[in-house]
């Protein structure tokens, strides 16, 4: 990946009632912010399966932003508390995998906080820009070719003729 043209890619999961509405308000108020964040609407931040975050990172996102209602204001009473619990777990998981915790951010943004959407998105883009590309698909590819090469190195002296039998590399 050429670093010159690299732009942070961020996937956002916003709950429909607070943060998604706030992002609509940011639009209505014509607050300008960085175009690097792509928003996916869910009914509640409690719907965010940790797999969504991992899938986004594995598919090439450099960061993930999660937005929900303020504690106590959840449209579904307590979904955002579950989100918070899961968020802590995701951070631990990412730390174990060597991914900087800064890449995943949870923010409580109420429907009236259009300006906060702008601020959070701009901050997030700057933070990811400072961290640089995560590029998990690229790392997978690099890892694959490394394995292939070492497989070749191991196999060559033993079975010179069965070169076409390459161990299958599973990823994703």
């Amino acid at each position: 990946m050429s670093d010159m043209n690299w732009q942070p890619r961020i996937v956002a999961f916003f709950c429909s009632w607070c943060t998604y509405t706030a992002a609509d308000l940011a639009g209505v108020s014509r607050f300008r912010y960085a175009p690097n964040v792509r928003i996916i609407r869910l009914m509640c931040s409690g719907r965010i399966d940790p797999q969504f975050v991992l899938c986004a990172l594995a598919d090439g996102a450099d960061g993930v932003l999660i937005g929900g209602c303020h504690p106590g204001d959840c449209h579904y009473a307590e979904g955002n508390f579950k989100t918070f619990r899961r968020y802590r777990m995701i951070l631990r998981l990412l730390a174990d995998m060597g991914v900087a915790g800064d890449r995943v951010r949870l923010e409580w943004i109420s429907a009236s906080e259009g300006e906060r959407v702008k601020t959070v998105i701009n901050e997030m883009v700057e933070r990811i820009r400072a961290l640089g590309p995560l590029d998990i698909p690229g790392r997978f590819a690099a890892c694959d070719s490394e394995i292939l090469e070492s497989a070749d190195a191991i196999r060559l002296p033993q079975c010179k003729e069965t070169h076409d039998v390459v161990p299958e590399v599973v990823h994703g």
Partner: protein
């Protein structure tokens, strides 16, 4: 993608006039979409939400045998419903549709055309991938309970309650004060007609009391609201009044008989300018016309050692019940109108105006009580020294249009002050000066009212007052209050000696507006006013279906606007009731029975107790009637055996893949 049919998607990108097309290259987006899997038709059009736009979708569904539709335009919160209907008009299940927000989330927030177009393309790719997985769904119809709760008994709440009751609906009107009437009951006259406020308000108040369809609960508060549109369970806390309002006739004999011979407690209705006893009737026209006892002041209730002369005076009526306890009542309603009003700005927050320090600096509402014939002085305007005023000044925008306090315009203070200025001139002949930033008189007959103020000799000085002081610099300032102000039209700093200064205090959200918002699951604007669903198209609806707002709880407004909104809110509630039912978003969760391992981890997560455990089959079961569709259980199921309609895991995964499509 499903195997049993080939996906035939129609894609439409809306220019929204110039709103989207100025920033997003709509033609490029349409061209891009046409290259994506399953897309049979890809068009851009000026206004997709217009009837020709919707017709385009309908025609294409028929002509090209489309089985999926994606529209990229504004927020789904605005027009998802419109396009689902258009899809249904083409004979397709309305849920085989996905909307892409490229206005609020793209064109309106970005300036770089290339970046905004790339973002639009990624969002479109996500929707086109996702919609292929959509299944036909059926919206469930929830019945609507015909009763309505109106919270707040000011003019807005009263009007809403009467409108609904006259239409034959049962209304519960809950007011936290001992009487309905709200702020309007404190006014002497109303602008611009200068008709007596009581004469237009009190007939409505008594109509509320006597209406067979209205249950009036004063001195009561909404404690809890459960349920959803059409089916709310509301708990109302009825505070102990210690007087049975159905037995009390308002004869006031108990008040005369009270052991406190002289009233000695400040009367909130007259803002402490008159006194009341521990047993009192809030004001002469109060509805219900029933006494109330203040438990913090009544000797019997505080110490249990009183002669109870009030009970004696009430004699056979037996209206006084000192053992009354607070009650919690539960009611079922289908919709709720919130008309909880405002509070006035506390003028002490601007110490430079001397409120609370100089006795002759007062607020507009205090002056209102002083000029009212039912007020503490019987309508006679006197300075605290007892003399009539000769020079009166009004300071406008106190706690409004001010970066230090509240930035908004309170909308009524210009007219309110001019009304009082005219009354003061008429009653006392005093010289009246209004210090203003801008005179805002935009209503019907309001500009004419401003002209009339000028004709009556009210002086206007343009400039925000710097301070009010009693520091005399010349003999004619001695013993007076002096206003220092930059006259921005004349271009110099004036010192104006006055003997009465009136502060036109602005409106603020109620102190407990946030609590109310939580109870009703509404949103507030950053200032704290209740947020309407759409500022123009849905001004009395909220984001919670079945909850409507009216009057000043939504933002400052005058009496005609409050009444208009109350009528609108009542009409919205009526429309809901008379529709007989409401379609609910079919976004409920369900268990894939064969996959469920019976671990029960989802059961405790559901805030609605919609999940139960089938002990025989050892599987969890979701009751779709109770499920609200948050999806918390779906995200937590360890075996992935809970699905959610409209938000299936695979659908979200496709969306994630799509938004990461960088072209």
């Amino acid at each position: 993608m499903s195997n049993d049919e080939s996906i035939r998607t129609g894609f439409y990108v809306c220019h929204c006039g110039h709103n989207i097309s100025d920033v997003v290259d709509c033609t490029a987006v349409a061209r891009y979409a046409s290259t994506l899997a399953g897309v049979m038709v890809s068009r851009d059009y000026k206004y997709m939400c217009s009837s020709p736009g919707q017709e385009l979708i309908r025609q294409d569904i028929l002509e090209h045998k489309l089985n999926r539709v994606v529209v990229a335009s504004c927020s789904p919160l605005l027009h998802e419903h419109t396009f689902r209907n258009a899809v249904a008009a083409g004979g397709l299940n309305p849920f085989l549709f996905q909307m892409v927000n490229i206005r609020e989330h793209d064109a309106w927030v970005h300036a770089d055309r290339a970046a905004a177009t790339a973002k639009a393309q990624a969002l479109v790719s996500a929707a086109i991938r996702r919609v292929a997985l959509h299944k036909p769904l059926q919206a469930t119809r929830a019945p609507i309970h015909p009763d309505v709760l109106v919270v707040g008994g000011g003019i807005a709440g009263i009007h809403a309650a009467l409108t609904l009751a006259n239409a034959g609906k049962k209304v519960y009107l809950v007011e936290r004060q001992p009487s309905i009437g709200g702020h309007m009951a404190q006014f002497d006259k109303t602008f611009p007609t200068l008709d007596c406020a009581a004469c237009i308000l009190t007939p409505k108040m008594s109509a509320v009391r006597s209406h067979k369809n209205i249950v009036l609960w004063t001195y009561s508060e909404v404690a809890k609201v459960d349920g959803y549109v059409g089916n709310y369970t509301v708990t109302v806390r009825r505070k102990a009044r210690y007087v049975d309002e159905n037995l009390c006739v308002g004869c006031q004999e108990c008040i005369d008989a009270c052991v406190f011979k002289v009233p000695k407690f400040p009367d909130p209705f007259n803002l402490g300018m008159s006194m009341q006893k521990p047993i009192y009737i809030p004001f002469p026209q109060a509805v219900p016309q029933a006494a109330v006892i203040d438990p913090d002041r009544c000797i019997q209730l505080k110490t249990g050692k009183c002669k109870k002369t009030c009970v004696e005076a009430c004699a056979d009526r037996k209206a006084i019940n000192l053992n009354q306890k607070e009650q919690l009542l539960e009611i079922k309603v289908g919709s709720i109108i919130t008309a909880t009003g405002f509070k006035l700005f506390d003028a002490k927050r601007l110490p430079e105006y001397g409120y609370g320090r100089y006795p002759d600096v007062m607020t507009t509402i205090e002056l209102e009580r002083l000029v009212s014939s039912s007020g503490p002085t019987g309508g006679e305007l006197r300075l605290r020294s007892g003399k009539p005023p000769t020079a009166v000044g009004f300071i406008l925008c106190v706690g409004s249009r001010d970066m230090r306090t509240n930035r908004w315009c309170s909308r009524t203070c210009c007219m309110h002050s001019m009304k009082l200025a005219q009354i003061v001139r008429e009653r006392t002949g005093a010289q009246v000066t209004v210090f203003y930033i801008d005179i805002r008189a935009p209503g019907k007959g309001y500009e004419e009212f401003y002209d009339r103020s000028l004709q009556q000799g009210v002086q206007f000085v343009r400039g925000r007052v710097a301070e009010v002081s009693d520091c005399a610099l010349s003999p004619d300032e001695a013993g007076k209050l002096v206003i220092r102000v930059e006259d921005t039209l004349a271009g110099f700093v004036r010192r104006v000696p006055l003997d009465l200064v009136v502060l036109a205090v602005g409106m603020e959200p109620q102190a407990d507006a946030q609590e109310m918002r939580r109870i009703l699951n509404m949103s507030c604007s950053a200032e704290g006013w209740f947020l309407e669903k759409h500022p123009k198209m849905a001004p009395v609806s909220t984001f919670t279906d079945g909850v409507f707002i009216a009057g000043c709880c939504q933002g400052p407004k005058d009496i005609p606007d409050s009444i208009a909104q109350a009528g609108a809110a009542a009409a919205e509630a009526l429309a809901l009731i008379d529709a007989g039912g409401i379609d609910q978003e079919p976004n409920t969760a369900y268990i894939r029975g064969e996959e469920c391992s019976g671990c029960k981890s989802c059961i405790s997560l559901c805030p609605y107790a919609a999940i139960s455990f089938d002990a025989e089959k050892q599987k969890a079961v979701i009751n779709p009637a109770l499920c609200k569709g948050c999806g918390t259980c779906v995200a937590s199921c360890p075996s992935g055996s809970i699905g959610q309609n409209l938000f299936e895991d695979q659908e979200v995964f496709e969306e994630i893949n799509g938004v990461l499509d960088y072209v």
